[in-house]
C-alpha cells in the first residue's frame, strides 16, 4: 500500500539505493548480463523472503502505474476496469524485455564507421524469453482481478488447482508493517498474486526517473555528440544530386525588384518619401514666448477655486490645545472620510526630524484633481451680512403691551376634555362645555363655578348671545341646541331674556323640519328652549351669532346638506341657506358690518351676500384642510387656520390669495380668535401652545397690516394628540381664556 506513494518521501534512502545501483551496474557491466539477472533474482528472493509467507520466488514484480494503492484498486472498481486494459498493453511491451524493462545496452566501436554505437542485447526467442507469465502461479490470464474478490482463491495454476489467496493482515498489521519493515516503502501491491512485492533497484530508479520527468532509460544519453555524416573535411558531396541545368535566376538580378527599388528611389528624389525626422528634437519640448502676442478678447475661463490654506492645527508642532482628545480622535476615526470636517488629525512632534511622511498625500492630491474635473462648479455669492440683519424689523413686544403673558387661573373639568367655551358679552362669565356633556358657568375673575348643567351628551359648541339686554347662551349637543340662562340675573334682564326665548304669544309657526320646543317647567334647571335639529345631523361643530343677536348659524358635523342651519330667534324659524354646497362645511361666519356670510369648506372660503343671495368671492388659502377661521372686527381681514399648521391672513380688499402665510405651530391649528377691541389675535394648536400676535390694521388702504408675534403661551398639556381646543378673548380686556384637551380651562392675563 505504501510503496508507490511513499516513493517520493525518503530521499536519503533513495540515495543509498542509487549508490547500490551504481555498484550493481558497474558489476553487471564487468561480468555479464545474465549475471545481473541472477543477481537481481537473488535480490528479489531476499525481499520476498522477508515479505511473503509462501516463499515463492517472483520473477517480475509488476508495477501497476494505475493503481497507486491497493485501497484504490479495491474500492474504485470501475477505474481498474478501464485501466487494466492499458496494463495489458504495458505488459506486452514489457514482455519483450527480459527482467529489466529496458534491455541493458552496450557501447561498442563500430567496425564499419569506426564510431561508437549502442548495441542492445539479442533477445533469444526461446521459451524462457517470455518471462511474464512463467513464474506466475495463477494462470487466469489478464482478467480483472476483482472477479475473484469474493472468492477464497485468486485463480488457478497450470494444473487447474486453485491458487489460494495469500493471507492478508488487517489494517493494523499493514500499519505495523510500514513501521517495522524498512523495505515496506519500496514494495508495491501485485494484483495477480494479491500481495505486496518488493521493487527492485532498477524499478525504483525508473520510478524516480519518471517522477523527475527524465527518460526512463538509465542508459539514454541526451547529450551524446552528433555524428556529422556529410559535413567536414573530406565528406562534402561532390556529385550533384540532379542533373538539371542551373536556372537563370541564380545569377541574373531580378527585374521586378529593380523596378520596385527604382520606384522608391524616384520617390525619394522627388521628395515624396522623407526620411524619419530626428527623434531627439521631437522629445525635447520646445517652449517659446506663448504670451507675447496680445490675448484674445474672450474672457478667460473662471479659475478653479483654490484649496483652503492650512491653519494652525495642521502644524507639525501646534499649540497643545489643538491636539484632539481621545474622544475626538475616536469620533474622527469612526466618521466616514467624506464626512470628516478635516482630512487629518492634528499631531505634535517634538522635532522636525520625527515628522513622518503623510500617508494620504497622494490620495488627497488625487481628490483635488477629481474635484477639478468632475465636480460641477457654482459661482456663489458669499453673503457677508450679520444674520441678525435678516430678521424683520418689528417693534419689540414690550412696546405693544398689553397682551396676555401669564396664566392667572385654572378651571378644571374633571371628567373629560373641554371642547368649547364662550365668554359673556360683558366679559364676566365663562361657559365651558366638555365632552361628557357638562357645562360649567364660572367667573372670569376668580374662577368660581356658579352653575353646572349636565346635558347628557357631548357638547360640541357654546356661544353666548351678543346682545347686552338679554343674557343667555346656546350649547350644541347631539342634534340639539340648548338655550341656557345663567342664574342670578337682574329682573329686567331676566324678563327680557324670557320674553325673547319663550314669548307669551308664539309667532306663527313656519314650515320647517326643525322643532322649537320651549320647556315650560323649571327654567332654572334646564334649557329654556331647545331646537331639535334634523335627525342624523350629528354634533353641531360650530355656532355663531349675528352681531344683532337675532340670527344664529349652526354647523353640524354630518355631511348631509352641508349641515348649515340658520335660526332666527324672533320668528322661531330655522332654515337651511344652502340647498347644495360643494365640500364639507367646516365653519361659517357673519360679517361684522355687512350682510355677508363666510362659509369655509375643506379647501376654500366662500363669501356670500345674503341679501342678494349670491357668491361674492372665493378665498383660496392653499390649506389642505381648514380647521378654523375668524374675521377681523373691521370686517376687511380674515384669518384662516388649517390642520396642516398654516395660518393665512387675507386682506379681502386685496386678493383671493393670502397676504401672508405663517407656519409656526408644530401641530395642527385648532382655533383662532380676533380680539374684539384690542389689536390682538390668538391661535391655539395641538402642540399645546397658544400664540399671541399683534395685528394692527390701518384704515389707510396703502399700509399693509402689521403682524407682530408677541408671545407663546404654554400651559396646556397635550393629551391623545390634542392640545388647546379653543381660545376666546375676554371682551374689553386683553385677557384670553383657553380650553384644553387636558380638561383645563385657563385664563391668561396681561
Amino acid at each position: 500500500m505504501m510503496a508507490v506513494p511513499g516513493l517520493g518521501k525518503p530521499l536519503k534512502k533513495r540515495k543509498q539505493e542509487e549508490l547500490e545501483d551504481v555498484e550493481k551496474r558497474a558489476f553487471a557491466e564487468v561480468v555479464d548480463l545474465e549475471m545481473q539477472s541472477e543477481e537481481e533474482e537473488e535480490d528479489e528472493e531476499r525481499g520476498s523472503d522477508i515479505l511473503s509467507d509462501d516463499g515463492e520466488v517472483d520473477d517480475f514484480p509488476e508495477i501497476d502505474a494505475a493503481s497507486d494503492s491497493d485501497e484504490e484498486s479495491e474500492e474504485e472498481e470501475d477505474d481498474t476496469d478501464d485501466l487494466d486494459e492499458e496494463d495489458t498493453l504495458e505488459e506486452d511491451s514489457d514482455a519483450d524485455s527480459d527482467l529489466h524493462i529496458f534491455p541493458k545496452s552496450k557501447v561498442v566501436v563500430s567496425d564499419i564507421t569506426g564510431q561508437k554505437k549502442t548495441v542492445y542485447p539479442e533477445i533469444e526467442p526461446d521459451y524462457d524469453s517470455d518471462s511474464s507469465t512463467e513464474e506466475d502461479p495463477s494462470r487466469t490470464g489478464n482478467i480483472p482481478m476483482h472477479w475473484y474478490d469474493d472468492l477464497p482463491h485468486i485463480g488457478y495454476d497450470i494444473n487447474g488447482k486453485r491458487v489460494l489467496r495469500p493471507a492478508k493482515g488487517d489494517e493494523l498489521d499493514k500499519f505495523l508493517a510500514t513501521v517495522d519493515d524498512p523495505t515496506s516503502w519500496t514494495t508495491a501491491f501485485d494484483k495477480n498474486t494479491q500481495m505486496d512485492k518488493p521493487l527492485s533497484a532498477e524499478e525504483l530508479d525508473i520510478i524516480r526517473r519518471l517522477q523527475a520527468g527524465e527518460n526512463p532509460d538509465a542508459e539514454y544519453d541526451p547529450y551524446e555528440p552528433t555524428i556529422e555524416w556529410f559535413t567536414g573535411k573530406g565528406k562534402e558531396e561532390v556529385m550533384p544530386i540532379s542533373s538539371a541545368p542551373e536556372p537563370k535566376r541564380r545569377w541574373l538580378p531580378s527585374k521586378w525588384e529593380k523596378q520596385k527599388i527604382m520606384k522608391i528611389v524616384r520617390a525619394i528624389r522627388q521628395g515624396r518619401i522623407v526620411g524619419s525626422k530626428p527623434t531627439a528634437a521631437d522629445k525635447k519640448h520646445q517652449f517659446y514666448a506663448i504670451w507675447n502676442e496680445p490675448p484674445s478678447n474672450q474672457p478667460p475661463p473662471l479659475p478653479a477655486p483654490k484649496p483652503k490654506l492650512p491653519t494652525n492645527s495642521e502644524s507639525y508642532n501646534p499649540p497643545e490645545e489643538y491636539l484632539p482628545t481621545e474622544e475626538e480622535r475616536k469620533q474622527w476615526e469612526n466618521t466616514e472620510p467624506e464626512d470628516r470636517e478635516r482630512d487629518y488629525l492634528p499631531q505634535k512632534y517634538s522635532a522636525l526630524r520625527l515628522v513622518p511622511a503623510f500617508d494620504k498625500f497622494i490620495k488627497q492630491r488625487f481628490n483635488r484633481q477629481l474635484d477639478l474635473y468632475l465636480a460641477p462648479r457654482i459661482q456663489r455669492i458669499k453673503l457677508n451680512v450679520d444674520p441678525n440683519s435678516l430678521l424683520p424689523k418689528l417693534p419689540s413686544p414690550g412696546s405693544l403691551r398689553p397682551f396676555p403673558n401669564y396664566k392667572s387661573l385654572k378651571f378644571t373639568h374633571t371628567k373629560a376634555r373641554v371642547r368649547c367655551l364662550s365668554i359673556s358679552p360683558d366679559g364676566a362669565w365663562v361657559a365651558s362645555g366638555d365632552e361628557s356633556g357638562v357645562i360649567s358657568l364660572w367667573e372670569v375673575n376668580v374662577g368660581r363655578e356658579v352653575k353646572r348643567w349636565t346635558l347628557g351628551s357631548k357638547v360640541g359648541a357654546i356661544e353666548w348671545c351678543p346682545r347686552l339686554d338679554v343674557c343667555f347662551f346656546v350649547a350644541g349637543t347631539e342634534e340639539k341646541l340648548h338655550f341656557l340662562m345663567p342664574p342670578n340675573l337682574s329682573p329686567a334682564v331676566l324678563t327680557m331674556t324670557q320674553s325673547t326665548l319663550a314669548p307669551a304669544t308664539l309667532p306663527p309657526a313656519t314650515q320647517s323640519s326643525i322643532k322649537w320646543i320651549s320647556s315650560s317647567g323649571a327654567v332654572e334647571e334646564g334649557p329654556i328652549l331647545v331646537i331639535e335639529l334634523p335627525g342624523a345631523s350629528g354634533l353641531p361643530r360650530q355656532l355663531t351669532w349675528h352681531r344683532k343677536g337675532d340670527y344664529l348659524a349652526s354647523v353640524s358635523s354630518s355631511e348631509t346638506q352641508g349641515g348649515v342651519w340658520m335660526h332666527q330667534i324672533s320668528r322661531r324659524h330655522s332654515q337651511a341657506p344652502f340647498t347644495k354646497i360643494k365640500g364639507a362645511v367646516q365653519m361659517v361666519l357673519f360679517h361684522p358690518t355687512k350682510p355677508h356670510f363666510f362659509v369655509a369648506t375643506q379647501r376654500y372660503v366662500r363669501l356670500y351676500n345674503l341679501a342678494e343671495q349670491k357668491l361674492l368671492k372665493t378665498l383660496m388659502p392653499g390649506i389642505q384642510w381648514i380647521s378654523s377661521m375668524d374675521i377681523h372686527p373691521s370686517g376687511d381681514h380674515v384669518i384662516v387656520g388649517g390642520y396642516d399648521r398654516k395660518l393665512c391672513w387675507f386682506d379681502l380688499e386685496l386678493s383671493e390669495k393670502p397676504y401672508k402665510v405663517l407656519r409656526y405651530h408644530t401641530r395642527a391649528i385648532r382655533s383662532l380668535h380676533f380680539h374684539p377691541t384690542y389689536p390682538l389675535f390668538a391661535s391655539s394648536s395641538d402642540d399645546g401652545s397658544i400664540q399671541i400676535f399683534h395685528a394692527r390694521v390701518y384704515s389707510d388702504l396703502m399700509t399693509d397690516p402689521l403682524i407682530v408675534p408677541l408671545k407663546i403661551l404654554r400651559g396646556h398639556d397635550v393629551k391623545d394628540g390634542l392640545g388647546v381646543l379653543q381660545v376666546k378673548w375676554v371682551n374689553k380686556q386683553p385677557w384670553l381664556v383657553s380650553a384644553g384637551a387636558d380638561g383645563n380651562a385657563l385664563v391668561w392675563c396681561s
Partner: protein, 622 residues
Amino acid sequence: MGRLKQKGKAGAAKAYVTRSSAVKKLQCSLADFRRLCILKGIFPREPKHKKRANKGSTAPTSFYYAKDIAYLAHEPVLNKLREHKAFAKKISRALGRGEWSTAKNLEENKPIYRLDHIVKERYPSFIDAVRDIDDALCMIFLFASLPSNPRVSPALIENCARLAAEWQLYVMHTRSLRKVFLSIKGVYYQAEVMDQIVTWLVPYQFPQNIPSDVDVRVMLTFLELYQTLLGFVFFKLYTDAGLVYPPPLDSDKDESGAGVGAFNLRPANPNTTTGGQKSDASKVSSKEVRQTIRKITAESSSAPPADIDFNQTDSFAEGAEEEFVPQASKSDFDVTSSLPTLLSLSSLPKSSSTNILAPYTFWLSRESSRSIFEFLVRSFGGRIGWPVSSGGGSPFTEDDESITHVIIDRPVAKAPEETIQERERRRRRKYVQPQWVVDCINAGKILLEDLYAQGRTLPPHLSPFGERDGAYDPTVGLADVGNTLVDDAEVSEDSQEGDVEMGSELEESATSMTALEVAAVDDPEALRAAELAAEAAGVDYGAFEKEVQKKQKQQKQQKQNQETVADGEGEDDMNKMLMSKRKRQLYERMKYGERKRATEHAKLEEKRINIEKDRRRKARTT
C-alpha cells in the same frame, strides 16, 4: 398665432447634454473624453432643473454644457486621439504578425499631440497662468519625489524634478518667497510672483507609493498639462528675468547629488537678442543705444536681480530718472498732496524681510532636510553649506570660519572629546533647530535663538497664513483667560488652606457651604441668616465674604446669560415666524455656522485653560 413650441427644443433641454450623450457625440471612448475634459478644463455643470435638462428623467447624471461639448468637437487633440486609436490598432496588428520593422516604423511615426494651444486658450494672459499654477506645482513636486514604476516612467520623474528645480531656482533668484509652513502633510511655501500669490505644498522626502485606489491615468493626464503649462510659464519668467531657459544642467554636479545646485542660471546675452539691430545701427548715437537697451531691460527685468552670479544693472544706473516734484500752490496750501511716484515707491524699503538671512552663514547638519533648508536660506539671502552625506556641491566645509549658525535637529549629546579649536568654534556658532529658520522667515525678522537652541522644547509653530476672522488665536495672551485662572487658583488655594486649618471640622464647614448655596445672595435677610450660620459653623468672616462674592459673581453671570437667552432668543424665535422660508433657511444656516464656530472656539479655549492649570499645578507641586 406664434409657432408651436416643441418640447426639448429650447432652454435647459438644449443647453445641457449628459455625459453619455456627449461621449456619443464626440465618438470617442470615455477615457478619451475624460482626458479631453482634463486638458481643456471642462467640468460638469449643475442645471437648475435637472428634470428639464434631462428630458423629464430625474436619474442621477452629470451634465455638461452643450456648447462646451461642441467646443471639444473642434479640438485638434481629439483628432490626435483618434489617430492614436488607429495607430494602436496598427501596431498591435504588426506586433501580432511579428512584422517588427513595420512596428518600428509605426512607433517612430506615432501621433503625438501638443498642448500649446490649450495652454494659450485656457490662460489667455500670462497673469492668468501664474495665478493658476498652484496645483501644477504641487503635482510636479509630488512626482519629483515619487519612485518610478511601470506606470510612472523615470523620464517623467526626471522632467518633474527638473521643473521643480527650475521653479526653486527662479524663486531663489528673485527672492519672491514669502511664507513657509511646516505642516504634518508637508511644507507649504508661498511666493509672490508677478504680484500673484502662489502657494504650493511639497511632501517630506520619503518614498511614497501610489495607493491602489488612485487612478494613475488621471494624475498622468493632469501632469501632462501641468508640464506644458509650467514649461511655458517658466520660459516667460526666466526670459523676463533675463535668464536663459532652460538653465543648463551640470551633469557632473547632478551626479554628485547637488540637486538644485546642478543647474546654473545664466543671464541671457542681450547682444544676441539685439544683434540684428546693432549691425545696422552703427551710425546711431550712443544715447539711442542706451535707450533701446533700457527699453529691453525694462521689458525683461521686473524682478530685482540680486543673485551673486548675476549683476547687470550697474551699467544702467547712470541714466538718472527725473523726479516728480510737487509744485506747491502759493494760494492754497492744502490742495496739493504728493502722490507716490514710481521712484519713491521703488526707493521704499522694499520688504526688507526678503534679505533677513543675508548676513548669516548656515551649516546644515545631516539629519535636517537639505532640499527644504537650502531653498529657504538661499531665497532669503543667506549662505548655506552641508556635509557630503547630504549631497555634493556645498560651497564650503564644516570648519569654515564664516559659519554663524548651525541648523541641527538632534538631541544634545555629550561630545566625547573636543579639541580647543572645536570648542572655540562651537562657542562662536549658534546651534538652532530648523523651526527657527521658518519662524524667522514668517516673522520677517531674526528671532532670539535661545528659544530654539539645540535640545530645547520648541515653541509652537503657527500657520503664517492665519485663520479666518474671529477664530481662536493661540497667540493672544491669556488675558481674559488669566482672570479665571487666577480665580480658580485662589479658590484652590483657599480650599487647601481651609483643609489644613479645619481638619476635623470638615463636615461642618461643608454644611455651612451648602447652606450658603441655598441662600439667595440677593436677598439681604437670607444673606444675614447664612452669615450667622457660617459663624456658628466656625467659618471665619474673610472666607465667608469671599465665598459670597464669588456666589454673587456667578449668579450675576447666570442671570445675564439667562436674560440674553430669554430676551434675545425668544424674540428672535418669534420674529423668525414672519421671515420668508428662503430667508429663514439662510438665517438658520448662518446661525448654525456661527454657533459651530463659537463652540469650536470655546472648546479650544477651555482646553488651553485646562492645560495651563495642569502646568501650574505641576509647577506648584515641584
